[in-house]
């Protein structure tokens, strides 16, 4: 408890919820910072472990591995895993695009129009997108990332791990035609 008599675990969960409301998933380290600011003693050497355990055990919270490998916590009722992941990867346009392309190809499945990444919440500039695509082309870790163009010239991106090029091309054409097939 802190001096205000607040429960440690609940305060940690509230710190996660507060970040979720702002559209961010947070690491245990960030949670400890928030707790310290609220007057909790977080100096013990096992404070980090304790926080991780408490957050993991909390029924209302979810976690995923962040871009840096550390766990990120969020309240899925306030912040979806999809959105949290996007925000977490924003610092690296390459990773941001690749993971989003892969998730779309895997789950729905579908290729995504390249313009998607210009819009919010991605908010990348055409230059950033171009740079990221070049970086992916040169890096074997992203060799699954591919593109296809529709008959009208629209570019769609997909992951060959989940989508065959021919099918991706079909789906891109289909998506492009939706607005002409009311």
């Amino acid at each position: 408890m802190n001096s205000a008599g607040e429960d440690w675990e609940e305060a940690a969960a509230e710190a996660v919820r507060e970040a979720s409301r702002q559209g961010r998933a947070v690491s245990a380290a960030e949670v400890l910072e928030a707790l310290a600011a609220r007057g909790f003693d977080v100096t013990s050497p096992d404070a980090g472990e304790k926080a991780e355990a408490a957050l993991r055990a909390h029924a209302g919270l979810a976690c995923f591995a962040g871009a840096d490998g550390a766990a990120r916590y969020h309240d899925p009722a306030l912040l979806s895993a999809t959105y949290a992941g996007i925000m977490d990867r924003k610092a690296s346009p390459t990773l941001l695009m690749a993971e989003e392309i892969r998730a779309n190809s895997r789950e729905y499945p579908r290729p995504v129009p390249v313009e998607l990444f210009e819009a919010e919440p991605f908010g990348l500039t055409p230059e950033q997108i171009g740079d990221a695509l070049r970086a992916m082309a040169e890096n074997p870790a992203f060799e699954d990332i591919a593109f296809t163009a529709t008959s009208t010239g629209a570019v769609y991106l997909f992951s060959s791990r989940s989508l065959e090029p021919g099918y991706a091309k079909f789906l891109a054409e289909h998506a492009q035609n939706l607005a002409m097939n009311p």
Binding site: S20, G23, P76, L78, L79, S80, A81, T82, Y83, A84, I86, E107, Y108, P109, R110, V112, P113, L116, A119, E120, P121, T152, E164, G166, Y167, K169, F170, L171, H174, A175, L178, A179, M180, N181, P182
Partner: protein
């Protein structure tokens, strides 16, 4: 069945334009078993319009019918079905319905009527004035020749500004089969305008002040309405937004739920910015912007607001204001419509210089709406535009039209994608000028009859999107494999069914769709990923049956089949499930007639089978399977030669489609060989009288000579 104490307005109004007689009958006593809407329409045609009646014969009747839930607070009501012998149906006219939203349905209910049957033919132009119990046939000679806008204005001056006016324009007056009737600016029913014209009926105007009674407890009603609101998505029940958001696990760039926080109704004064939580029920109206969906994000700046039908929170008729178009082309600066109506002008051009989402495209759409919704010209779901493109580029027009007429058309503007071309072309067709106007205003049927083009020329060519009987596909194999094909075989016009496509396009991941499919239709195999089709199975046939029944149910309850059914929802806490029994719950509460999903579906099936019998009777054809339920050749082709069931093709396999039809006829309890409903099916659905008549006509299975 116990007597209904709510939902129904109570009366069906009948106006005989030949004699001037006005009468009413009890809706519940006479039409309860067919609910309303298309149900009443089919029943009236079955009982009262003899086989062989032409669309423009005085003996044809036109039935404006809405349903139990119209005029209430049930989300997504407001629909009127307009059923008649349909003039664009080829080679002979058969039953068909146009469907319109707007304010007409609610006003008709408040005036005390569930339906209006118009029969006979007036000896001079007239309009029908309905003010509650006062019904008058009024002189319309002064309105004849006017567009829909002016006719509406003049009539509104007489009736008062609150009335709903459903009027035809010049196209309908000139008996163009490709004519609409429209109310509330942009809400039109296609194909029926010429039938009104043939009766010298310019308009029907309604002002109603009364109530639609609700039989059930008002608290229960309020809770159910709020529940329904909670499971709504955006337009067409796309349940995921088009953008990632903290409030949603899923998104789909192709979703019609485009109202992202930060977007603005830029032409509102002052502009309105979308803020807050996209799931907020007080912000549902911001989810949909048809202009932005069809014309790209640029359209937000021209958006004034969303508009739509009575009681619908999904405002799909986006109002836009584009002063530059007004200045450039000398037309009004305001425009509003959705889907095919919004795209009316753009659809004429094979290619627009800067693409489909350019400013030129917006200009073409504005001109198209301005002209078509005033002249009252129909597009036959884009077939008119596709036909013109094909006829021009393959040289047919040059060959068929006289040089003088051909040269009078500004083809240079057409080729360069100049929207000004529409200022010539749309009035030319609507006013039926010259040979081109006379032929194209008949729809695709006109090409087959006047220019001896064969149907095969069209049904071979995928680019035409032509399906059969003068009409195009409407969400067929390109969206939903065999399910889409089955549905597209069933009507005498384009299928107008959205039950199936609203599900497959809802934006949820395939695994979620399959789970919901298993819950609703018995197996995950009821649905495929688009373009990754598996062979036909009984679950797909069941889903097709469900889709068709729900379409007829919605058309007969006054609900919108462009929004329903509600099998899926945006709610993670419901595992993205909606509620497939919603219609029956509302029906029970509104009418006081306790029913459930299965019972109400049986009523929907009865209505659908009545349409089937009517079609068969008027065709005089024992074998609907090969003579009616046809599939165009292009469905069995692939431009790249891909085999059916290979990933990335919508090509279907003939044998598999034959099997799909077998399965469909089986689940319908129809004869597999002929596709004709069996006597058992008629009996099961309470249509013994229809069955006996069909048997007497030797149109039931096993009665062929």
């Amino acid at each position: 069945m116990a007597s209904a104490t709510g939902g129904f307005a109570g009366k069906v109004l009948r106006v005989d334009l030949s004699t001037g007689a006005v009468s009413t009958e009890s809706t519940v006593e006479r039409y309860l078993d067919v609910l309303g809407g298309t149900g009443i329409g089919y029943r009236v045609l079955w009982d009262e319009v003899p086989a062989g009646t032409g669309a423009f014969d005085p003996a044809n009747k036109i039935v404006f019918a809405t349903g139990v839930l119209a005029g209430t607070g049930v989300p997504c009501n407001g629909r009127t079905a307009v059923t008649t012998i349909f003039p664009t149906c080829w080679p002979k006219p058969l039953v068909g319905s146009g469907h319109m939203g707007g304010q007409f349905a609610a006003k008709l209910k408040y005036a005390g009527y569930d339906a209006l049957i118009v029969e006979g033919k007036a000896d001079r132009p007239v309009w029908i004035s309905i003010r509650n119990s006062q019904v008058q046939i009024r002189d319309a000679r002064g309105l004849w020749g006017e567009g829909i806008r002016r006719a509406t204005l003049e009539i509104s001056r007489e009736m008062g500004g609150e009335c709903a006016v459903a009027a035809i324009g010049q196209a309908g007056e000139k008996l163009a089969p490709m004519a609409i009737v429209a109310n509330s600016v942009s809400h039109s029913a296609g194909g029926v305008g010429g039938v009104m014209g043939s009766k010298n009926l310019k308009a029907v105007a309604v002002q109603g002040d009364g109530a639609v009674r609700l039989a059930g407890d008002k608290g229960e009603w309020e809770r159910l309405v709020k529940f329904h609101l909670s499971i709504l998505g955006g337009n067409n029940q796309h349940v995921v937004p088009s953008f990632p958001t903290p409030q949603s696990e899923y998104y789909n760039p192709g979703s019609r739920w485009v109202g992202e926080p930060g977007r603005r109704w830029g032409a509102a004064e002052p502009p309105v910015e979308i803020t807050g939580n996209i799931r907020d029920l007080n912000r549902i109206a911001y989810r949909t912007n048809s202009a932005a969906f069809y014309l790209g994000a640029n359209a937000w700046q021209y958006t004034v607001r969303g508009n739509g039908c009575t009681g619908c929170p999904i405002r799909c008729h986006t109002i836009v204001k584009v002063p530059s178009v007004a200045a450039k082309y000398g037309v009004g600066e305001m425009g509003q419509n959705t889907c095919a109506g919004l795209l009316f002008g753009r659809g004429f051009f094979r290619k627009l210089a800067a693409g489909d989402k350019s400013h030129t495209s917006l200009e073409a759409c504005m001109l198209g709406m301005h002209l078509a919704d005033d002249l009252g010209l129909w597009c036959n779901y884009g077939q008119l535009q596709r036909d013109l493109i094909k006829l021009y580029y393959d040289g047919t027009l040059k060959a068929k039209l006289g040089a003088k007429e051909y040269d009078s058309i500004p083809w240079d503007k057409y080729e360069s994608g100049d929207p000004a071309f529409l200022l010539d072309m749309i009035p030319r067709i609507a006013n039926r000028q010259g040979e081109l106007g006379a032929v194209l205003s008949q729809g695709t049927a006109g090409l087959f009859t006047a220019w001896s083009i064969t149907e095969r020329d069209w049904s071979q060519d995928k680019e035409t999107a032509y399906w059969k009987m003068g009409h195009p596909k409407h969400h067929a194999n390109e969206d939903d494999g065999q399910c889409g094909v089955i549905i597209n075989t069933q009507y005498n016009r384009d299928a107008q069914c959205h039950s199936h496509v609203n599900f497959v396009r809802n934006g949820l991941p395939l695994a979620v769709q399959k789970r919901l499919a298993a819950e609703t239709w018995g197996s995950p195999e009821a649905v495929d990923a688009v373009g990754d089709y598996t062979p036909a199975n009984v679950y797909k046939a069941r889903r097709a049956k469900w889709a068709l029944i729900r379409k007829e149910l919605h058309d007969s309850l006054g609900l919108c089949n462009w929004m329903g059914p509600w099998v899926a929802s945006p709610l993670k806490e419901r595992d993205y499930g909606g509620d497939d029994s919603l219609e029956s719950k509302f029906f029970s509460l509104a009418t006081g007639l306790k029913t459930n999903r299965e019972e109400l579906d049986r009523m929907g099936e009865r209505i659908f089978v009545l349409h089937r019998a009517l079609t068969q009777r008027d065709m005089g054809e024992p074998d609907l399977r090969s003579r009616h339920d046809t599939v165009p050749d292009w469905v069995f082709k692939d431009a790249n030669g891909a085999a059916p069931f290979s990933k990335g093709t919508t090509r279907m396999d003939r044998e598999d489609i034959a099997k799909a039809m077998d399965l469909f006829y089986e689940v319908m309890d129809w004869d597999r060989a002929t596709g004709a409903p069996t006597m058992e099916a008629y009996a099961r659905l309470g249509l013994q009288d229809v069955g006996r008549r069909m048997q007497a006509l030797k149109l039931t299975p096993g009665t062929r000579g």
